[in-house]
């Protein structure tokens, strides 16, 4: 047998008390595509960061073509032919494509950058693998898909023979993702070796030759794609059958929130283009779409932190003006923000302060400008008890909570008051399977109690499981709704690509 291109031997990495990688060994052959499958927190990204020299492993070693790679040196990894495509792109938006690609590729102390030679090389590579880009475009002006191409080109420019892609489809539409996998297969055919990290069973099955399943920092299984099934992989990945709660049929009530022809402009750019929807009591309306298509503007508009440029908004049939956060909160509209750490909590403040901050002016928590600390702490205690928030007391800083517990705190402060409407943006993003189930259960419970829920999510499975009706958001436009019962993945895929007329046709052709 030939020497594998890449061999990871017994790598362990510990953060504090958390063993992120536990004696992991993996091999990769030339021309092979391996998928590293695992949940969030399974240790995939840590392992790749060790491989790429961002972290020093506590034990183990890495061999490339049988030669040991020095640890903790990204430059050595690059030189050995390892290229990394990060999930959050490592690019500078103020620099050009060529500059992004060229950084660090030349001797630092030389008199001139070899710009023209570099441009030639870049164009040659982009030709060879069909990755078209304009070398002189400013990176910030490119679409997300194009930026990912630059990220891949950057690795190839450094003569990478081993390419590592961290959740490469997280930011792509289904169609872009399909295109990406075609490119990856072409690369493998030309002799490159690829590892891609994923938690999506579908793409792992279609794109990889071999699948390595990681759970709690350990390799738990290795399968050929042809010899396994989605069901088996799912069980291996989670380790137990976690049953996400399932939606029961319900009878939606009156229309709680209605948007008609709403347009939102930020700095002259239309983020939402004449969108319309109706949200009824006791139902979940799912908004699917690839991130960056206007979800943030929609969530902020309904959360009271953004004003609309035109259009009407009806709250229980009453037309309303632009709402501020205080109005939204006092109208019993709960809000779960997209970014827990940025908007959901103020990490350096106490849990109780985070619990009451949004209604601090209400008589329950303050009187004539003086904060009622006791009431705040009591409220926080109730949330901690009712919503099972672990890892903190009312007085400890919110930053110390894990993602799941932070989300429970946010859910708690919103659902405790039985809101009439709930705006939930990516409520389960980045949580482990147990926490996801808890969040879903809470949302369904609120639905049972008659809350009208707008669920904005990129996770198709989540929306299919929870939503009664589904609309897609693409480029700031909102598709017409489809009933969850008739929505299957292919049709939703078309909707998310903005082809909702195609989606209708497909529907009628059947």
């Amino acid at each position: 047998m030939t020497v594998p291109v890449l061999e990871i031997q017994g790598v362990s990495k510990r953060f504090g008390t958390n063993l992120a990688n536990d004696d992991i060994s993996i091999t990769l052959a030339k021309g092979e595509i391996v998928a590293l499958l695992g949940e969030n927190g399974a240790g995939k990204t840590t392992l790749m960061s060790v491989l790429f020299g961002h972290y020093m492993p506590d034990a183990g070693r890495i061999l490339i073509d049988g030669m040991e790679l020095p640890q903790g040196k990204p430059r050595a990894a690059i030189r050995a032919g390892v290229g990394m495509v990060h999930q959050h792109f490592s690019l500078a938006s103020n620099l050009t494509v060529l500059e992004n690609v060229m950084t660090g590729t030349e001797k630092l102390w030389s008199w001139r950058s070899g710009t023209s030679a570099a441009r030639k090389k870049l164009l040659a590579i982009s030709e060879r693998f069909g990755l078209k880009v304009d070398p002189d475009a400013r990176l910030g002006d490119l679409s997300v898909g194009e930026q990912q191409r630059v990220e891949i080109l950057k690795a190839l420019y450094n003569d990478a023979r081993i390419l590592i892609l961290d959740e490469p489809t997280a930011v792509l539409t289904n169609i872009e993702a399909e295109k990406l996998f075609t490119t990856l297969k072409e690369m493998a055919r030309q002799g490159l070796s690829l590892i891609f990290i994923s938690h999506k069973l579908d793409e792992v099955m279609t794109a990889a030759d071999r699948i390595i399943v990681l759970r709690s920092g350990k390799v738990v299984a290795e399968r050929r794609a042809s010899e396994t099934s989605k069901a088996e992989l799912a069980e291996l990945m989670v380790g137990r059958r976690v049953t996400r709660p399932v939606r029961e049929p319900s009878a939606p009530g009156t229309v709680a929130l209605e948007a008609a022809d709403i347009t939102v402009k930020i700095n002259g750019v239309e983020r939402l283009k004449s969108i319309s929807f109706r949200l009824r009591e006791g139902e979940i309306l799912g908004i699917i779409g690839v991130s960056g298509n206007g979800q943030a503007a929609l969530a902020h508009l309904l959360s009271g932190t953004l004003s609309r440029t035109s259009g009407t908004l009806l709250l229980f049939g009453e037309p309303i003006g632009n709402l501020g956060v205080a109005d939204v909160v006092s109208a019993d509209i709960g809000r779960i923000p997209e970014d827990r750490n940025e908007e959901g909590v103020i990490g350096e403040m106490a849990i109780w302060e985070n619990a009451v901050l949004e209604r601090i002016s209400s008589p329950a928590f303050s009187r004539s400008g003086l904060v009622n600390r006791k009431a705040g702490i009591a409220f926080a205690k109730e949330i901690i008890g009712q919503f099972d928030v672990r890892g903190g007391s009312p007085a400890s800083r919110a930053r110390l909570l894990s993602g799941g517990n932070m989300q429970k705190l946010i859910l708690g402060r919103n659902l405790h008051q039985r809101p009439r409407i709930l705006i939930a943006a990516q409520p389960a993003r980045g949580l482990d399977e147990g926490a996801v189930a808890a969040v879903h259960a809470r949302l369904l419970e609120a639905r049972r109690q008659g809350t009208a829920i707008l669920l904005i999510s990129e996770d198709l499975d989540e929306v299919i499981a929870l939503a009664d009706r589904i609309q897609a958001i693409v480029g700031g436009r909102l598709s017409p709704p489809v009933e969850a019962e008739v929505a299957e993945a292919r049709r939703l895929g078309l909707m998310m690509a903005g082809e909702w007329h195609e989606a209708w046709k497909a529907d009628h052709a059947i």
Binding site: S303, G324, V329, E343, G344, G347, E348, V371
Partner: protein
């Protein structure tokens, strides 16, 4: 070697940190004193006795500490909300000149019980007006307020210089640029007879307590802290960011303006362009040494004043330039920053 964030911040570190920082700063300045050829311990002993050795020197130190408490509070409230008001020096001067102008031109004839509070208010308002310019530029054009508030200091000082050289010039000052003196009955009452110590000290300490209560107990305090720690989180929670910053700015500028007013009404009686030996800038150090805690500001201001007053006497005795006090104070800012860092991080190998 790398730094790792502490999960829990032990409480004792918050008390130990400033003490260690001051000791480190004194040790470093000690090296400078030694290089200059003077006995280090003797020098520090002279500083201590110079500042607290007699009744007179002790009152002098507290007199010096009074404006430092107010400028320190000004910096502390602003920094807490991540509003980088470095313009306390200019606000101090504007507060001072506003008092001189109001007393000389408009209000001077009012009886003291009305005049004194009114003049203090005038001084505070003048400070507020000055800080609103950098704040407006930040909110409207997103200009970093550090540089603008710094530049405003120079504008304010030239403005004061212009007034005391022109409309407010004291004709009896033999041609020196000096403002007309404020009315005698506008002077703040003395706290201790036969000293310069005035009631301003009480005002400053009371304000420190009030600011402390405001920050820890009021909605405004909670909201301004939120705005400083995480602006987008604060906005999401409904904190009116612009309004909160405006209030914080007014409080900060008002305190600095008040410092100027009190210095004129308590000590000098008139305004010159050397009224402040850098009270505004020293206020930044005071605030940092206190870790932005309003009550800590009182202690930090007394420490800083001790250095300044004590260094005068020590300088005369040992021939060490009085600037050693400024060096020590500046160094203690740097050592305090480092000490604060280690309350949040630990070293891991």
């Amino acid at each position: 070697m790398r730094f790792e964030r502490r999960e829990h911040r032990p409480l004792y570190l918050l008390i130990v940190a400033p003490v260690l920082a001051v000791i480190a700063a004194l040790a470093l300045s000690g090296i400078l004193i030694a290089i200059a050829g003077a006995p280090v311990l003797d020098a520090y002993w002279r500083i201590l006795t110079g500042a607290f050795g007699s009744r007179l020197s002790a009152t002098e130190t507290l007199t010096r500490a009074t404006p430092l408490m107010l400028t320190g509070l000004a910096a502390a409230v602003a920094f807490r909300a991540r509003l980088w008001n470095i313009g306390a020096e200019g606000q101090f001067y504007l507060g001072a000149i506003a008092v001189a102008a109001a007393s000389a031109k408009v209000l001077g004839d009012l009886p003291a019980p009305i005049l004194i509070p009114l003049l203090l208010l005038v001084g505070a308002i003048a400070g507020m007006v000055l800080i609103l310019i950098p704040l407006w530029l930040r909110l409207r054009f997103s200009v970093d307020e550090v540089v603008t508030s710094l530049l405003m200091n120079f504008v304010a000082l030239l403005f004061v210089s212009m007034l005391i050289d022109g409309v407010l010039k004291d004709p009896l000052a033999f041609g020196w640029p000096q403002s007309q003196s404020i009315s005698d009955h506008a002077m703040l009452p003395k706290l201790i007879a036969r000293s310069r110590l005035h009631i301003g000290l009480v005002i400053a300490v009371a304000l420190a307590v009030i600011v402390h209560l405001m920050q820890s107990r009021t909605v405004f305090g909670l909201q301004s802290r939120a705005a400083g720690l995480n602006p987008s989180g604060a906005v999401f929670a409904g904190v009116p960011l612009g309004k909160t910053l405006m209030k914080v700015a007014c409080l900060s500028g008002g305190l600095a303006g008040l410092a100027g007013a009190i210095e004129v009404m308590g000590v000098k009686g008139y305004v010159t362009t050397d009224l402040s030996p850098g009270f505004g800038y020293a206020g930044i150090v005071v605030a940092m040494l206190a870790n932005l805690n309003p009550l800590g500001v009182v202690l930090a201001a007394i420490f800083t004043a001790t250095m300044f007053v004590g260094a005068d006497g020590m300088s005369r005795g040992l021939g060490i330039p009085t600037y050693i006090a400024d060096v020590t104070v500046a160094l203690s800012l740097l050592t305090m920053l480092i000490a604060l860092f280690f309350t949040q991080y630990r070293i891991r190998r």
